[in-house]
Structures are given as structure tokens and as C-alpha cells.
């Protein structure tokens, strides 16, 4: 776990306000676990002050390259979007606990459900699962057709259904509408997106699974207790009543935390 100035090797807007950035550096070789995140300093000075947690979307060990996809929403991410190829970026990471892969054996089936900017970490997961010989089915939810990204990339890895809230492409409705219509024979689900979606996905799921949470963070390393969530009664981690999203998560077994 280190802080490194990574070199930006590319940046493009792949959907309205959605940016894909690639970065190169030594610390990329430690980014082997899907679902982890990097904590990014978007300015050199003290304003904006805090780092931004951004999930790891893909890693190429051959090219020593990290891919992140983020939405330029606030001041920090807009500054990030203004960065150019060959600029450097102060990156702390990888941080957090990612998606566990060993729960799925070769030949089993995983359902991946992502919504909006919750989709990127599922891509690295999908690649890792496919490499293990796990069948990957993906449901990606967007507001409208022009917001769609990563569809082609996921299609190369397995079956995919896209949903749009306005019905402009794919299934009309939410990801859970697609879940209810589709084959329910999967062994585990993995989901990332807004909390109401996570709740609905967990309720609609036909198996156990894993959810990835996001929260406003301070340190990103488990010290400041800014990003905690309540642990559910049934789960025990030395009897602790809470989990730190940055360091115990962001991925949790569905049911481990109250969402």
C-alpha cells in the first residue's frame, strides 16, 4: 500500500460526464483484487483538500496500467477530468477489501448487477471470474441510452442485459426488473451502485452475494471513522457493531451490513 505519482496515459469522455482514465506506475502491480479502490489527490495544494476514492475498473499487468472510470460531478472530479495525458496523479492504493473470488468454482455462474458509476469495479471482477472459468452474466442499469458505457466490454465476457429507466434501450425499468425476468440459476451475485438499488438487488436475488458500498471518506485507510456503516446483528467481527467501508469494505457479504 503506497502513495505514488502515476502518469496519466489517456483520458476520454465515454458517456456524458463519464470519464475513463488510464494511469501507469509501479504500484499497479499490487492492484490484483477486483473491488478495491484508489484514493486520489486531485490538486497539488490544499484546495480541494481531501482525496477522492475511485474504484479500480481494470488493470493490465502487461502494460502496468490502471483504468478508472468516474463521473465528473463535483469540484474534485471536474479537476480530475481536466487532467491531460502525461500529467501525473497522486494515487494512494490499492485500498480496501475487494470481491472474494474463491467462493465460486470453475463452471459456476455469477450474476453481476451494476448501476451507473457503480458499474466500473464489476468489470475487473468479470475479467477475473471469466479467467477462473466462471460463467458471468451481467445486468447494467442506466437512466437513458446515451448514458450507457462498458456494454461492449462486458458483452465480450458473457451474457449481458442493459436496462434504462426511460426505456430508450434494452429492458425498460430498473436492474431488478431484468433480474426478475431472467434465469435465476446463478450461484452468487455481485452488485455495486446506489444504496436503494443495492437493497432491491439483495431482495430480488436468488442466491447469496456481495455488495460494494460507497460513502464520503476521510483518510481512506480506516483511521478516521468517517465512513462507517452498521453491522447487522447476525454478523460478527470480534463483536464489532460497525464496519469501516474504506478498510473492512467497500465489499461486504450481503447481510453483513445494514443498508
Amino acid at each position: 500500500m503506497i502513495v505514488e505519482q502515476l502518469r496519466i496515459t489517456g483520458q476520454e469522455e465515454i458517456a456524458p460526464r463519464i470519464y475513463r482514465m488510464t494511469l501507469k506506475g509501479d504500484s499497479v502491480q499490487t492492484m490484483t483484487e477486483p473491488g478495491q479502490f484508489v484514493h486520489v489527490k486531485v490538486s497539488d495544494g490544499i484546495d480541494p483538500l481531501l482525496r477522492r476514492p475511485i474504484s479500480i475498473c481494470d488493470v493490465s499487468q502487461d502494460k502496468q496500467e490502471l483504468t478508472i472510470i468516474y463521473r465528473a460531478e463535483g469540484r474534485g472530479t471536474r479537476l480530475l477530468a481536466a487532467k491531460k495525458t502525461d500529467d501525473t496523479l497522486d494515487v494512494l492504493g490499492p485500498l480496501g477489501q475487494g470481491f472474494p473470488l474463491d467462493s465460486l468454482q470453475k463452471g459456476s455462474t455469477a450474476l453481476l448487477v451494476g448501476g451507473g458509476v457503480g458499474i466500473p469495479p464489476l468489470y475487473y471482477l468479470a475479467k477475473k471470474l471469466v479467467k477462473r472459468g466462471v460463467n458471468v452474466r451481467t445486468i447494467l442499469g442506466f437512466r437513458q441510452s446515451e448514458d450507457i458505457f462498458l456494454e461492449k466490454e462486458f458483452r465480450e465476457l458473457g451474457d449481458i442485459v442493459v436496462t434504462t429507466e426511460d426505456g430508450s434501450k434494452g429492458v425498460h425499468g430498473f436492474v431488478t426488473d431484468a433480474m426478475n425476468q431472467a434465469d435465476k440459476s446463478y450461484d452468487s451475485f455481485f452488485t455495486c451502485g446506489p444504496v436503494p438499488m443495492l437493497r432491491a438487488v439483495k431482495a430480488a436475488a436468488a442466491s447469496d452475494g456481495f455488495i460494494s458500498l460507497e460513502e464520503r471518506m476521510g483518510c481512506g485507510v480506516g483511521a478516521c471513522l468517517a465512513c462507517v456503516c452498521e453491522a447487522s446483528d447476525a454478523s460478527s467481527q470480534e463483536g464489532k457493531k460497525y464496519r469501516k467501508i474504506c478498510s473492512d469494505g467497500p465489499v461486504f457479504r450481503a447481510g453483513e451490513v445494514v443498508i
Binding site: D47, G222, C224, C227, V228
Partner: protein, 313 residues
């Protein structure tokens, strides 16, 4: 040779830099980044008699060159700290300061007495300035008579020196400082966060679930410097200065204002290596400026020339 050593009540420090309470957990997270023995001392997160769950999220919000937090003194409680956190720190050869908080005077007295008997605890820091809890905390830090009474009672039971952490959210911080000094405090730490708020204009509601939070970071530095400047001239006990320190020059500024040592808070979140990097850059800056002893610049901003040992290059 630059002398970075500091001798404060209960604290024999090889440099003047320590992490601030609440910004460093109990040390374990940052021990993964560097050897904690590099620190002058360590101040651990506030300990209360019982486990505290803290406030709902969101607990932090970024502001201009600063941040608001309302963690709400979440901590695993005295028993857990005694059994797990403090023993873990025994492997390090640095002074340990335990920040103590509570709802009632009895809570403070009980926790203080118990913690002060732990062999690797060097000093206590009385948290009478947390702005983010409904009872306790700031209640004891806004009335000089109550702060003095609490200090006196804790001093009567503590086996180690007691530092009182002052709130900037008072009309007259000098009066508070003098009151706790007279009550027997061995030192002061200041400042805690400034009470603030941020509103999300899309929802029209405060960003932080607790509505208000404590402002920290570089934004509050001038307030801290001013208060340390005023208080250090009015009391004879040492001050651990804090409030937005981000660079070695900031540390020099705090020392010159009158602090005898400094604590680093929010900067740890921005850069996990903040403390060790500040320690080494402080030494570099002192060499560049021809300062050969930290002690020589403490209070330089207000001491008369004859009482300041000016070194020449």
C-alpha cells in the same frame, strides 16, 4: 546538529511532532505505512467509559481548504482499549497520550484514573472540546468554572500529567486556559475544531447528518495561531499546538506563536506519510533558517529579543 528534542510534562520527545487525537485511530492503520517510533509522541482517539457508536453518516464534508467532521466520539470503550489498543502500542518506544471524554464528571474521573495507571500511558488529554456530541465534551469546555472543577478532580486521581484540550468555540480562550492552569493542568492542547456547517444547495439540507460539524484543516490555521499566541503569554504551562498544520513552515509558525510541540490532524488524511515527512522537512527548514534548537523559537513572536536565543548562521 539540530536539537529537535522536547521535554514536556510526562513527554520526553525526540521531535515536536505527534498525530492529533481522532485523526490517527490507535495507531494501527498508520503503522502499516511507517514505523511509529519516528513520531515525537502519539495521541490516541478519545476513549469513553462505554463503547460509543458515534453519529450517523455522512460524517464528513469537504470545505474550502478544510473539512467538517462529526464522528461523535465513536470508540470501542475503555475495556477494549485497555485490553487491545494500549497493549499493542507497547512495542513502540514513544510517549502515549490518551484522550479522555465522557458524559459526566464521574465518567472522566473513572476513565482518567484507570487509563493513567496503564504502564505505557505517559499523559492524559482531557477532551472538553468535542463539538459533536450532545452531552459531555464541549459542555465542560465552555464554562471556566466547570472546566477548572473537572481538571482539579482528574488531577487528583491521575497518575500521569494532564493536558486539557481547549475549544476555540468560546468567547475568551485565555480565561479558559488560566482557569484550568490554576486548577492544576500540566499543559494545554489547542485548538479543537471550530463549529461549522455546510449546506447542500440541491437538497437545501446540511451535508453532515449531525447537521453541524467541527472544522479542521488549513482553513483554521490563523485562528489556532492567534489563540496560541494569546494563551501562551497568559499561562506558564506548555501548549501542544494544532489546527491545520500542513507544512514544516506551519510548524515553525505554531512554535513561534508559543506552542512547545505540535499535533498533526487532517494532514494525515491527505497524506498518510504526513507526520514523518513533516518531521524530516522541519529539520531541513530549521537548518536553512539557522535555527539549531526547537526550544529557541518557542514564543519568538512575542518574547522580547533578549529572552530569545537568536542563533546566527
Amino acid at each position: 546538529m539540530i536539537n529537535m528534542n522536547r521535554e514536556l510534562p510526562g513527554l520526553s520527545m525526540k521531535n515536536p511532532v505527534m498525530p492529533a487525537s481522532g485523526c490517527f485511530g490507535f495507531g494501527q492503520e498508520y503503522a502499516r505505512f511507517y514505523d511509529l517510533n519516528k513520531l515525537g509522541a502519539i495521541t490516541v482517539k478519545a476513549v469513553t467509559a462505554e463503547e460509543r457508536a458515534g453519529n450517523p453518516v455522512p460524517r464528513v464534508a469537504e470545505t474550502e481548504s478544510g473539512m467538517l467532521n462529526a464522528i461523535g466520539l465513536q470508540n470501542p470503550g475503555l475495556e477494549h482499549v485497555l485490553q487491545h489498543e494500549l497493549p499493542w502500542l507497547e512495542q513502540y518506544d514513544i510517549p502515549v497520550i490518551v484522550n479522555v471524554a465522557g458524559n459526566t464528571m464521574e465518567d472522566y474521573i473513572y476513565v482518567s484514573e484507570t487509563v493513567s495507571r496503564v504502564k505505557n500511558v505517559s499523559a492524559l488529554e482531557l477532551n472538553i472540546s468535542c463539538p459533536n456530541v450532545k452531552v459531555g465534551g464541549i459542555q465542560f469546555g465552555s464554562d471556566p468554572a466547570i472546566a477548572a472543577e473537572l481538571t482539579k478532580k482528574v488531577k487528583a486521581v491521575s497518575q500521569v500529567p494532564v493536558y486539557v484540550k481547549l475549544s476555540p468555540n468560546v468567547t475568551d480562550i485565555v480565561e479558559m486556559a488560566k482557569a484550568v492552569e490554576e486548577a492544576g493542568a500540566d499543559g494545554l492542547s489547542m485548538i479543537n475544531t471550530l463549529l461549522g456547517m455546510k449546506i447542500d444547495i440541491n437538497t437545501g439540507k446540511p451535508v453532515i447528518a449531525n447537521r453541524t460539524g467541527g472544522l479542521s484543516g488549513p482553513a483554521i490555521k490563523p485562528v489556532a495561531v492567534r489563540m496560541i499566541y494569546q494563551v501562551s503569554q497568559a499561562v506558564d504551562i506548555p501548549i501542544i499546538g494544532m489546527g491545520g498544520i500542513h507544512t514544516a513552515d506551519d510548524i515553525l509558525e505554531f512554535l513561534m506563536a508559543g506552542a512547545s510541540a505540535v499535533a498533526i490532524g487532517t494532514a494525515n488524511f491527505v497524506n498518510p506519510f504526513a507526520c514523518p515527512e513533516l518531521i524530516s522537512s522541519l529539520e531541513t527548514r530549521m537548518a536553512e533558517l539557522g535555527i539549531d534548537d526547537v526550544e529557541s523559537i518557542v514564543g519568538r513572536s512575542w518574547k522580547t529579543c533578549s529572552s530569545v536565543s537568536l542563533s546566527s548562521r
